[in-house]
Symmetry: C2
Subunit: 420 residues, 2 copies
């Protein structure tokens, strides 16, 4: 964000006025914080987006209803256990979390949202959780360190905390936005096991907060995929408490807010992909020239989720045939002759064949490398930490962009051993 009127500040979710956080290690997972509370000292107009998985966790089912009812004051989150596939007891446990949090903070349970992340199918250890809620409740503070503790408490296999806060000078007033996110596994478009909590002291109507959040999420969290696996628990919450004063945002102020919110979501979404389980590269897959945006999205995701494409990127191997093949396997009609594939800025494939000229091919054969790969030029690009794959279909004007990471041996190691 290069704009003069926006600057990064510390504190994550407690950076905006009127927000407090507290976290503790209550023993759900081994070592580290695993329970956190977030509180607004006044009612916040909240919006929330949830997983579109048909199988949703108990806290998602509960919070989906709570957020519709009215203003929100607090969020309780635990990591280490997803409270998903836990039946009626799971629902009672999610309600008990909201009730305990309300009791601790002097609120009504209908003002408390609940989120969980971790292993599926196991009952929540409620004794530990209720003790944790009491402990975290004692610690509520707006110290930036507490924002960081909140961010740490929501992590599962994440290797680094993901948070950002931005101060926006809209001319007349100063608005602050803060966000914390977790990701790492089961990350795919439409909210995959990722949680993100965004706070702001801006004044927004409920409709505005929903519209702003949807717009920001569609261009950030919903365009990332690590393993194509959408989770049962994904949740993004925006709480706008109006503590910066003034009437509801409109005109240029609203635009500035939307822009800052979009930036914040993009930074957090990128951080999730970069910290994908075992990830060593950040990859943008851009599909242009499709007939429909939906088709562009399907092709971009097919490329981004192909284990063959992802392992080639991990091996820094310009095996571009796998990209073309992944696009072709979606069932969407393509014209091979119109396709153009770029890796970075290099045109690799055009008119149904590799762009290598006969002379390049001759040189390649003499120097002992394969011509489809165009190595001297591509090797540097493939060795970078960030990589763009751009496929132009030549069929229309619709496009889509998806962010992903590579697939490494470490992804397998992490996921083969996570449970036990």
């Amino acid at each position: 964000m290069s704009k003069d009127n926006i600057q990064e500040v510390s504190g994550g979710v407690v950076a905006p006025s009127g927000f407090l956080a507290g976290a503790c290690a209550c023993g759900i997972k081994q070592g580290g914080y695993d329970l956190a509370l977030l509180l607004s000292n006044r009612p916040a107009r909240a919006a929330a987006l949830f997983t579109t998985n048909q199988i949703v966790a108990a806290p998602v089912r509960l919070s989906r209803e709570t957020v519709k009812r009215g203003p929100i004051r607090a969020v309780v989150v635990n990591s280490g256990n997803a409270n998903a596939c836990t039946g009626a007891q799971g629902h009672l446990n999610a309600m008990a979390m909201a009730e305990a949090t309300a009791r601790e903070l002097g609120l009504s349970p209908s003002e408390v949202l609940v989120a969980s992340t971790g292993i599926i199918g196991q009952p929540l250890p409620m004794e530990k959780i209720l003790a944790g809620i009491r402990e975290a409740g004692q610690k509520m503070s707006r110290d930036p360190e507490h924002g960081r503790s909140f961010t740490r408490a929501i992590m599962t296999t994440d290797t680094s905390p993901k948070e950002l806060a931005l101060k926006i000078d809209t001319g007349g007033r100063t608005i602050t936005l803060g966000g914390a996110a977790k990701g790492a596994g089961m990350i795919a478009p439409n909210m995959a096991t990722m949680l993100a909590f965004i706070t702001t002291d801006a004044t927004l109507t409920r409709r505005q907060s929903k519209a702003c959040l949807q717009r920001a999420v569609s261009r950030s969290f919903n365009q990332i995929t690590i393993d194509g696996h959408m989770s049962t628990n994904d949740t993004v919450i925006l709480m706008a408490n109006g503590a910066s004063g003034g009437p509801c945002l409109r005109g240029r102020d609203l635009t500035a807010f939307q822009e800052a919110l979009g930036h914040l979501c993009q930074v957090l979404a990128r951080a999730i992909v970069k910290d994908g389980e075992g990830a060593t590269k950040f990859v943008r897959v851009i599909v242009k020239g499709a007939k429909k945006e939906k088709e562009a999205g399907v092709i971009a995701r097919a490329i981004a989720n192909s284990p063959l494409v992802k392992t080639a990127i991990n091996g820094e191997d310009p095996n571009w045939g796998r990209i073309i093949s992944a696009a072709g396997a979606t069932g969407i009609t393509l014209d091979e002759k119109r396709l153009r594939l770029y890796i970075g800025e290099s045109l690799i494939f055009e008119g149904g064949t590799s762009v290598a000229s006969p002379i390049q091919a001759l040189v390649a054969e003499h120097q002992g490398y394969s011509i489809g790969a165009l190595p001297p030029m591509l090797k540097n690009i493939m060795q970078g930490k960030e990589l763009d794959l751009r496929l132009e279909l030549g069929l229309g004007r619709a496009e889509a962009e998806v962010w992903t990471c590579d697939l490494s041996e470490k992804y397998v190691t992490i996921n083969a051993r996570y449970h036990t």
Copy 2:
């Protein structure tokens, strides 16, 4: 196959009367055979099924037309180079392979099918291939060793040759069927980089050979997936040369033939999955109780292709929540309360929750294992080399079955390094 009238014999594709094979190492890939010819000494009624990828290799485009025209006498196959994404030159090269084979064996090019497998996007090394066709042509023989050489020559990252031959006594006459297949990577339903060549001395009409092949493939090669990535080159060819004598099969003879062909395809398909890149387990994913067969298939494939499910199986970790979550993410409407999940014969999930009773949960907690996992019972099942996952949706009567393998660190290693 326990039936008395069917027995296994040696020789693979040359086991049936009137078929000869020859193979050689012409230098496309490093070390080992990479070019093979298969010849019927009389015109064979042939059927072939090809990839449904929108991007198809030149040999697929050529063979798709050739097989429609009339009887087939020979097949030429190379491994190490897919001749895909190679433009007009690729098509000329595929035709040149057919022409050279025809010249060598005294046939017309319109009687020769061509198949290629290997790296995408590189021009075929035609000098080597033409020399290879001459060399293989000199070696044509019906010695069972030559059947094995053919099977070896079509391998890429396969670690073992896959072939089978069956002799069927139909009462009146003896029919023989032989098959060779390769797989290992880019394996997904609807013909993924897999090649299979099936020969028989049975007498079939062209229509019969097509119908029999389609039926057998739908219940074998089309229900396997290793990495969900459909290739540009998949091809299954059946050649029926009638050398066993007699009129076209019908009635019980045809049924016996269909049964043997189905068995042969299933054995080869299983062998492909078991030899999937880095595979350590064979997994059958069975989805029952769907409203539509197509929906059952989508869910079965989503489970079979989920990297989270596959890595859990690799880690022998009964992390069943990933199976439920993968099913829920397909977008197909499910009722969580009606789902029943079995691992092996053990019911794991029912009525929206783990089937562990409160007493089991108590025991589990005291013994220090997690109750969702039901370890004592499941640990043995997870440690087996073969595993059944059965998900009952409780919505209808349609079902589907998909065969897959686990996802190991070795899959990543193989695919990150294959090209260079």
